[in-house]
């Protein structure tokens, strides 16, 4: 080819920088009325990080309560509210918003677009999600509660019927739970629609589907999955509200309704939801591992196929949460096998990450440390998942701390680790400054140690028969020492999280100036200045391969010759 330089240009903005302009109020106004995908992405992430701290504080309160037998740090009622709010917060107010925040910020940049497909819908969706979260937390102070301490929901994050019926849950706690999640669910649906439309309709010239960065691919899969995942929950919550407000009988066992239907509906949402959360974590690993291994991702088409495969299979595994409700052996066998089937595409991914690292020139900066830990922790989480998919085994361990340990291995060991990785990796792009590597290493090692102290130990508590959601326990059960260890690990993680927050703030003011491309990466977002201007790309980019920046950096050895 004659012309090796693609029309991707850096640019100099002649308008004065926005951050410096205006009073505080004017800047605040700028954030409130923004329709810019980058600002909304930042809003999503900051909002989620705040709730991560809130949810984390709830977890610490739970751990203090369980540290020693017969403790009375929390009352039983508050304890119920805390574990309900901890679960709901972490899934709906932290996990999904932060991952959609990353998608919001990065997807248009990665596919060479100026903005999302529907910028105003994007703002609307964010504010719905945010206000839904605030409505949920308003329950602590608003309205008379069952115990006179606010009406926070206390029915568990899965809100099983018939506990949610008016008779068993008077007060407004359950209503707050349903209403807040319906509101934020609308927001999630809007964002999912937006991301799908953006990725399908806004790609820059030359960015065919098989040239998209894997991050964008996985976000497409996640958003499409979200379309059919969050909506069943919204539907079921409307049914719950019909029961509670209009005297309906959907889940009213006294009038022929079935509590089992709620459990089915909840897990038809609940299990794909796990993949909605974990696939973005995979997406992050797909970007970070190649860059820090200095190699192209191994098996790109297999990664795409595996992601689509996981999404499809995940829609047919929900009842593995329900082995103990007494299904027929045929149903049990079906859900055992379909659950085990998930292991195949997931295994493909783990092998591909390892193969990407293999023979690479690996540099263990903080993002890569997190991603490396993620690969191995996710492997363990997957293995305990396969163990739990065996119905007779599940009958033994259902709702024990083994299950808690298993899914925290996924949610913390895989998702939170990769969220940290993503923030360390893209922080320079967003703020223009590097995060401190020294603090990053402290953060990583403390978090890693705390994580393993807590969640490895929890598996054994499960084997020893400790059930989930119990307020306290008797001293003669043999759980005392292990519970103390788990709580200590939780506090180590808490310290690591504080270091992380400190690093975020400190680096914003004192971090090393990053430049456009601090990691020497290959996707389009690194072609823009840091932070990117409002319009992202001054001229529309055009790509010829999966790694457009590689082509520019190595004009004599470009990728498009090989793909």
């Amino acid at each position: 080819m004659a012309d090796q330089t693609l029309p991707i240009s850096g640019s100099v903005d002649v308008t004065p920088p926005h951050a410096a302009a205006g009073t505080f109020l004017e800047r605040l106004h700028g954030w409130v009325v923004t329709v810019d995908h980058k600002k909304l992405g930042i809003l999503y992430v900051v909002y989620s990080l705040i709730f991560l701290l809130v949810g984390g504080a709830e977890a610490l309160a739970i751990r203090i309560q369980l540290m020693i037998p017969g403790n009375h740090f929390l009352t039983a009622a508050t304890y119920n509210q805390f574990f309900t709010m901890h679960g709901t917060t972490m899934v709906f107010l932290v996990g999904m918003p932060i991952l959609f925040g990353f998608a919001n910020y990065l997807v248009p940049l990665m596919i060479g677009a100026r903005d999302m497909a529907f910028p105003r819908l994007n703002a609307f969706s964010f504010w719905l999600t945010a206000l839904g979260g605030l409505l949920l937390y308003f329950s602590f102070i608003g309205g008379p509660g069952l115990y006179g301490m606010g009406a926070a929901p206390d029915v568990g994050w899965f809100a099983y019927a018939p506990l949610t019926a008016h008779v068993f849950s008077p007060g407004n706690g359950t209503d707050y739970w349903a209403l807040a999640l319906i509101v934020s669910g609308f927001g999630t649906l809007g964002t999912a629609i937006n991301i799908v439309a953006t990725i399908i309709s806004m790609r820059c010239k030359g960015m065919s589907l098989l040239r998209m960065p894997l991050f964008a691919w996985l976000m497409l899969v996640v958003s499409a999955l979200t379309l059919v995942t969050i909506t069943p929950l919204t539907a079921a919550q409307f049914m719950l509200l019909i029961d509670r407000y209009l005297g309906g009988h959907f889940f009213d066992t006294q009038a022929g309704g079935s509590a089992l239907v709620w459990i089915h509906f909840f897990w038809i949402f609940g299990h794909p939801e796990v993949y909605v959360l974990v696939l973005p974590a995979f997406a992050i690993a797909n970007e970070i591992i190649p860059v820090f291994s200095r190699k192209a991702i191994f098996g790109y088409p297999a990664m795409v196929a595996a992601s689509v495969g996981i999404a499809f299979v995940s829609l047919g595994v929900w009842a593995h949460h329900m082995f103990t409700v007494g299904m027929t052996s045929v149903s049990n066998a079906f859900f055992v096998l379909s659950t085990m089937l998930v292991g195949i595409p997931t295994g493909i991914k783990i092998f591909n990450w390892l193969a990407t690292m293999w023979g690479g020139k690996i540099r263990f900066a903080t993002p890569m440390l997190y991603c490396t830990a993620f690969v191995f922790q996710f492997l363990i989480a997957g293995l305990t998942g396969i163990i739990l998919s065996v119905a007779p085994w599940d009958w033994q361990l259902h709702n024990s701390y083994f299950v808690i340990a298993h899914f925290h291995y996924v949610l913390v060991g895989a998702i939170v680790f990769n969220i940290f990785a993503a923030i360390y990796y893209w922080y320079p792009k967003v703020t223009g400054r590097m995060m401190s590597e020294r603090l990053g290493k402290w953060n990583f090692w403390l978090f890693l140690i705390g994580f393993h102290v807590t969640f490895d130990t929890m598996h054994f508590l499960g084997f020893l028969g400790m059930p989930r959601s119990i307020y306290t326990y008797e001293p003669n059960r043999g759980w005392n020492g292990l519970n103390m260890v788990v709580s200590i690990g939780a506090f180590i993680q808490g310290v690591a999280a504080l270091i992380f927050v400190y690093n975020l703030v400190w680096s914003y003011f004192h971090g090393e100036v990053a430049g456009n491309d601090p990691w020497d990466a290959w996707t389009l977002e690194w072609a823009t200045p840091s932070p990117p201007p409002d319009y992202n790309f001054a001229t529309d980019p055009e790509v010829k391969s999966r790694r457009p920046l590689w082509d520019l950096k190595h004009p004599d050895d470009p990728d498009w010759k090989y793909e």
Binding site: I193, A235, L246, F250, A255, G256, V261, K561, Y562
Partner: protein, 198 residues
């Protein structure tokens, strides 16, 4: 990535992507379908599980006329879509108006049916499981009809004001896609409620 250099594909090919409006609407329809699926599944699961009357067989009448109206509105809106593409604004307005009229007839029909069920047969949403599932499923669909009608009406107002041109054809077709979806859902609701469930 194979290790063999390959011939790069021709540059300067035209770069076409699907319209974002259509993709967005299709995504919304997929999401909405999931909501309806949950309500339909609940309806089917609870058929015949009510502990007390009235039962569907006693009180439901098959709304043939209503159904014909709603389904034919899908045809009239399609005719309107074709007219706007060819910039025949008057004919577009006519067919669009007919679509709205048919939608309103359907809604009135549903209203009359509910009036009869509530005041003559004493079936409310809290009477029994049939009432709960019936009113929520049909009500969910009717809500979508109302939202759709409001949007259609808006377009009609602008058409009468002379603001609609063929440049708006795509937006109007996206809206029509929603209306087609509402009609298609009715086929499912009708089958489940009035044929299977009776």
């Amino acid at each position: 990535m194979s290790a063999i250099p390959t011939v790069p594909e021709l540059q300067d090919q035209p770069w076409h992507l699907p319209s974002r409006g259509r993709i967005g609407m299709l995504s919304l329809i997929i999401g909405e379908s999931a909501i309806f699926t949950i309500f339909v599944v609940a309806y089917v699961f609870y058929i015949g599980k009510s502990l007390s009357g009235p039962t569907p067989g006693q009180v439901l009448e098959v709304p043939i006329f209503n159904t014909i109206c709603l389904l034919s509105s899908s045809i009239t809106i399609w005719l309107a879509e074709r007219r706007i593409e060819r910039n025949e604004i008057k004919a577009f307005g006519l067919w669009w108006g007919v679509t709205i009229a048919l939608g309103v007839v359907f809604l009135v029909g549903t209203g009359l049916e509910w009036y009869k069920l509530i005041y003559h047969d004493g079936l409310t949403i809290s009477t029994n499981l049939f009432g709960t599932t019936f009113y929520s499923l049909v009500g969910l669909h009717a809500t979508h009809v109302v939202i759709g009608l409001a949007m259609l009406l808006l377009v009609l107002v602008f058409t009468l004001m002379g603001r609609v041109t063929e440049h708006h054809a795509e937006r109007i077709q996206v809206l029509a896609l929603y209306w087609h979806f509402v009609d298609a859902v009715w086929v499912v609701v009708f089958t489940v409620v009035y044929i299977v469930g009776r």
